[in-house]
């Protein structure tokens, strides 16, 4: 009753008050802002600039408020900002539904939510938005660095959540908690990743823009369209050959075939599709696996020319191999090619006529040259030889930066500028052949590829994009002629860098002095490839294979579910054991005392919970069943413990002495 009257003041009518809104501390805000910035920043490369700008202005504003310790802006201002953001997104994308506007809205919402955050519940919503934003990043990029960044952002998000429940903890503790949770979450992640049933294909229709923005080969060709790819080292596909890879001059990966020409642009002609190839394969075979990056087109870029395989791909009448659906995710296809096969031995007349057609009124000088070359030739072979010889003589220069051409592009290239990239060479050659009456067309695709010495894969990049020609000769069918090789033969054998003339600025990676950098890149790409194959390429097919190897019946959902549940429970049990295992008390004195009590308890002398050390000692001293010496020793230890525990000092020597005496106790 120490309180006295003052504590007994009569305070009637004390009403219950609602718990006050808990405002965020500075540390909580900092965690939130860090998480938001980490989640938002990687979108910088592809989200429209103004959206990123807006998002970061909002974050900066919040940081400023935090710095000044002022209150969030009034709701009306926020409402106005929300409306402005919605209108902005609407104007940018013309609609709200779809991947890109969705992600843009998400980014803006996060900024606005952070600005509005007052209580922990809002803050949790903001963290969830951050997680969504991290997920949306994977639409664009799933490479190792992005995964690493997402891991860091997740860690920060978890630490932010920890700081929301524990406002008084230090930042280091929150970080430790977050890290611990991530570390403990990883086994569950691996388990679920491997065993969670994978489903093929989309569950519902994807928005139209789901796979927009892929660069790469297109199905038309005009001057400059392929050279634009020349500087991109983005990987198009990787080929893993069962045997040795083909010779460089056989590495023609076939894409769209372009027959129709309007004077400037080449376009494909309608073609038939069938389940079997339109040719008979012959000669040596090459077995390989293509891992194709998504390009949102159907062509599979098989090595010329593919044979029918176990997979249900489609063959076209212009000898491409097509997938049934556009390639929207990284796929692996197992293929067989026979590079020495003849194709199109019996071509129909309409196709040949289309391959001879030229738009009237273009390139008069080329037409005149064609007449000159064709004069007196007995066969198409002779004409072909003459055209090749003529092109070889005309000293055309292969360059990544060809000058712009006017209406009569072929004339200008052949007679004036004489500088061009592969599309100029192929275009000029094809026009020249057609003008002499020989059926000719352009094939686009990729040529070459470099072997990665780390994993032995052949890597083909956008810079390997190429255009070449095919001429149709009686009895030989469509014969590949690469006009680029006539002027720059090293393009075919040694790649782009070797073929470019001295002094031409090379893309940095192609520079000879960057050998070490290229080595680094090869190493990195081998790791990326393993990542792509093992992690990103883990699909229903792979899962089935793995489960079969583990001896699990992959057809039965019970087996899979049971395994998943069992392994999950086992993991949880392990964690539980780790959690509740007895930890040694931090205090050495306490440790010694507990050891002492446990030892006595084994001899039937149990210290009750209410007994202090002194009282316990007195009781033991009265136990007649023990020898008097032991009784005295126990009593003394109890007294010493009480003195050290509750007395003013407890030196290391005291501790050691007590421990020695505890160890010396011998009971019958």
């Amino acid at each position: 009753m120490k309180g006295g009257l003052s504590s007994l003041r009569w305070r009637p009518g004390l009403r219950r008050t609602a718990a006050p809104a808990i405002t965020l501390t500075r540390q909580q805000c900092t965690w939130l802002l860090a998480t938001a910035a980490l989640s938002l920043a990687p979108h910088l490369t592809w989200l429209p600039t103004w959206i990123m700008g807006f998002g970061f202005v909002l974050l900066g504003w919040r940081a400023l408020l935090l710095w000044r310790g002022s209150a969030p802006p009034p709701r009306l201002v926020l409402l106005a900002l929300v409306i402005a953001a919605a209108i902005g997104v609407r104007t940018e994308f013309d609609h709200f539904f779809g991947k890109d506007p969705g992600v843009a809205l998400l980014a803006l919402l996060l900024g606005l939510k952070l600005l509005e955050v007052r209580v922990t519940r809002d803050a949790l919503a903001a963290v969830l938005l951050c997680f969504f934003l991290q997920l949306s990043l994977f639409f664009e990029d799933q490479s190792i660095p992005v995964a690493g960044l997402a891991l860091v952002a997740t860690l920060s998000g978890l630490a932010a959540m920890a700081s929301l429940t524990d406002a008084n903890g230090r930042a280091r503790e929150q970080l430790r908690t977050g890290t611990l949770l991530v570390v403990q979450g990883v086994p569950f992640m691996v388990l679920l990743f491997v065993l969670f049933p994978r489903v093929d294909g989309p569950l519902w229709g994807l928005p139209a823009d789901a796979f927009s923005g892929r660069t790469g080969l297109s199905d038309t060709m005009s001057p400059g369209s392929i050279s634009a790819l020349g500087e991109s080292s983005e990987i198009v596909f990787r080929a893993d050959f069962d045997g040795p890879p083909p010779r460089p001059d056989q590495r023609y990966w076939r894409g769209p075939v372009l027959t129709d020409f309007d004077g400037r642009t080449w376009r494909p002609r309608a073609f038939a599709e069938g389940a079997a190839p339109f040719y008979a394969v012959e000669g040596p075979r090459l077995d390989y696996t293509l891992t194709l990056e998504p390009h949102n087109r159907r062509w599979l870029l098989a090595l010329d020319v593919p044979a029918a395989g176990p997979d249900a791909h489609l063959f076209t009448s212009d000898f491409q191999l097509l997938a049934r659906q556009p390639v929207q995710s990284r796929i692996r296809v197992e293929l067989t090619s026979h590079p020495e096969s003849s194709i199109g031995l019996t071509e129909n007349e309409a196709a040949l006529a289309a391959a001879r057609r030229l738009p009237p009124g273009f390139n008069p000088r080329t037409l005149a040259l064609a007449d000159e070359l064709a004069a007196g030739a007995q066969s198409h072979e002779v004409i072909l030889q003459r055209v090749i010889a003529r092109l070889r003589q005309s000293e055309l220069i292969y360059t990544l930066r060809p000058p712009l051409l006017g209406t009569d592009g072929v004339d200008e290239f052949l007679f004036d500028t004489r500088r061009g990239f592969c599309e100029h060479f192929a275009g000029a050659f094809t026009v020249l052949m057609r003008a002499t009456g020989v059926p000719a067309r352009i094939v686009t695709g990729y040529q070459g590829g470099e072997i990665n010495p780390i994993d032995g894969n052949l890597v083909v990049r956008q810079s390997h994009a190429h255009a070449w020609s095919e001429v149709w000769l009686q009895g030989r069918g469509w014969v590949r002629v690469d006009p680029t090789a006539l002027s720059a033969p090293r393009r075919i054998d040694d790649g782009l860098a070797a073929a470019l003339p001295e002094g031409e600025a090379l893309p940095i990676m192609m520079h000879p002095r960057m050998e070490w950098l290229r080595g680094l890149r090869l190493r990195w790409e081998a790791v990326s490839n393993a990542w792509n194959q093992r992690v990103l390429g883990y699909n229903p097919q792979r899962q089935k294979e793995l489960l079969a190897r583990l001896g699990l019946d992959q057809e039965s959902s019970w087996v899979l579910g049971g395994t998943l549940a069992g392994a999950g429970a086992l993991l949880f049990g392990l964690l539980l054991w780790w959690t509740i295992r007895k930890r040694r008390p931090a205090d050495p004195l306490e440790r010694g005392w507990l050891r002492f009590c446990t030892a006595l308890a084994r001899h039937g002398i149990v210290r009750q919970a209410w007994e202090g050390p002194h009282q316990f000692g007195v009781r033991v001293a009265a136990e007649t069943s023990l020898p008097p010496a032991a009784r005295a020793a126990i009593r003394a230890i109890c007294e010493d413990y009480a003195r050290l525990r509750y007395g003013p000092t407890c030196s290391a020597d005291d501790l050691r002495a007590l421990r020695t005496r505890i160890n010396a106790i011998r009971l019958p």
Partner: protein, 336 residues
């Protein structure tokens, strides 16, 4: 059962179902006297509302990952799910091994907010963040440093006089992610004495000696009537110094006053007007006790069963008030 006629719980189970649940699931029964250690089977975990929202968000993210075949999306979702599962154990571990025992609980007047104290001991050499002790709708947040023992007070409104038990108390934590609530339910035995609410406008104190009819010599000092001068003592109030005497060059003297009539006050149950019911009588007596204590006079309390002899001071006041609070209840040997 330690409950008596006037022992009430602050948070009584409201429905039969809840009582059954308490008994079967949480194994709650009579208030526990001794220290309570939170062992495995006393701690319960369930997802909080935020946890459910989190789960829904993960499902949405998983659907997006399936639809767009995002391998890393699966990875992110499963990692977050794994962290959520691990947080169950962290929440559980945050309560595991705590030791609780009843603490201080100051008496209050009915209608005031009582404060139940629970001594929580953290035997572990690690910090226990974000704990909350809940009683009814009120709760107190706290945290424990490594090895710390803390007296946690949780407020509760009082509605009736007598011994009040806090009833069902909950120690809970949402740490670390706020997705999982780990809690332990217990009924500690820590009765709080609730005095009857003093009457708001009580009539003046009864004149002394009314009942017994014998006025006693006025010897108790008071401050109503001037009774004379005495030599100044160091502790005397400066207001009572006879400044006029001092100004006249006399010695430092203190003015003495006598109490109202000098007799001990006798606050008796049976002398209260007959129309008052029990609670009204107790209220009036409580108000009078306070007034009597303020007046500085000695006072006695006479209840039908109990008599408190005349006395003065806080100890005496509390003893009297306590008798009022316990009036009509079966007395127990073990109440404090």
């Amino acid at each position: 059962m330690a409950t008596s006629a006037s022992t009430a719980a602050v948070d009584p189970p409201r429905s039969a179902l809840r009582r059954q649940l308490d008994r079967w699931l949480f194994r709650l029964g009579a208030p526990e006297r001794g220290p309570i250690e939170l062992v495995q089977r006393r701690i319960y975990v369930l997802p909080s509302r935020a946890g459910l929202v989190f789960a829904v968000a993960l499902v949405v993210m998983l659907l997006a990952s399936i639809n767009y075949s995002l391998s890393l999306g699966y990875g992110l979702v499963f990692l977050l799910a794994g962290a959520g599962v691990a947080s169950i154990l962290h929440a559980f571990h945050n309560l595991l091994g705590l030791r609780l025992r009843p603490g201080r609980c100051e008496p209050v007047f009915c209608g005031e907010t009582a404060s139940f104290g629970l001594v929580v001991e953290n035997p572990r050499a690690a910090r226990r963040p974000a704990l909350s002790l809940r009683l009814g709708t009120r709760h107190t947040r706290f945290e424990l440093a490594p090895g710390e023992t803390r007296d946690v007070q949780v407020p509760a409104a009082t509605h009736r006089r007598g011994l009040t038990q806090p009833g069902r108390m909950v120690l809970e934590t949402y740490w670390p992610l706020g997705l999982i609530r780990a809690w332990s339910v217990f009924v500690p035995d820590m009765p709080c004495v609730v005095y009857p609410a003093p009457e708001a406008t009580p009539p003046p104190l009864p004149p002394d000696g009314e009942a017994e009819g014998r006025g006693r010599a006025t010897s108790r000092p008071g401050d109503d009537d001037f009774a004379g001068l005495r030599a100044h003592q160091r502790a005397d109030s400066p207001r009572h110094v006879a400044w006029k005497v001092l100004a006249r060059g006399g010695p430092l003297l203190t003015k003495q006053f006598s109490g109202e009539a000098g007799a001990d006050l006798d606050l008796a149950w049976e002398r209260l007007p007959a129309h008052l019911d029990t609670e009204a009588r107790l209220s009036r007596l409580a108000a009078w006790l306070l007034a009597a204590e303020r007046s500085g006079r000695r006072y006695a309390l006479r209840l039908p069963m109990v008599v408190c002899p005349p006395g003065h001071g806080h100890e005496h006041l509390h003893r009297c008030l306590r008798e009022l609070a316990l009036h009509g209840s079966a007395r127990q040997e073990n109440d404090r």
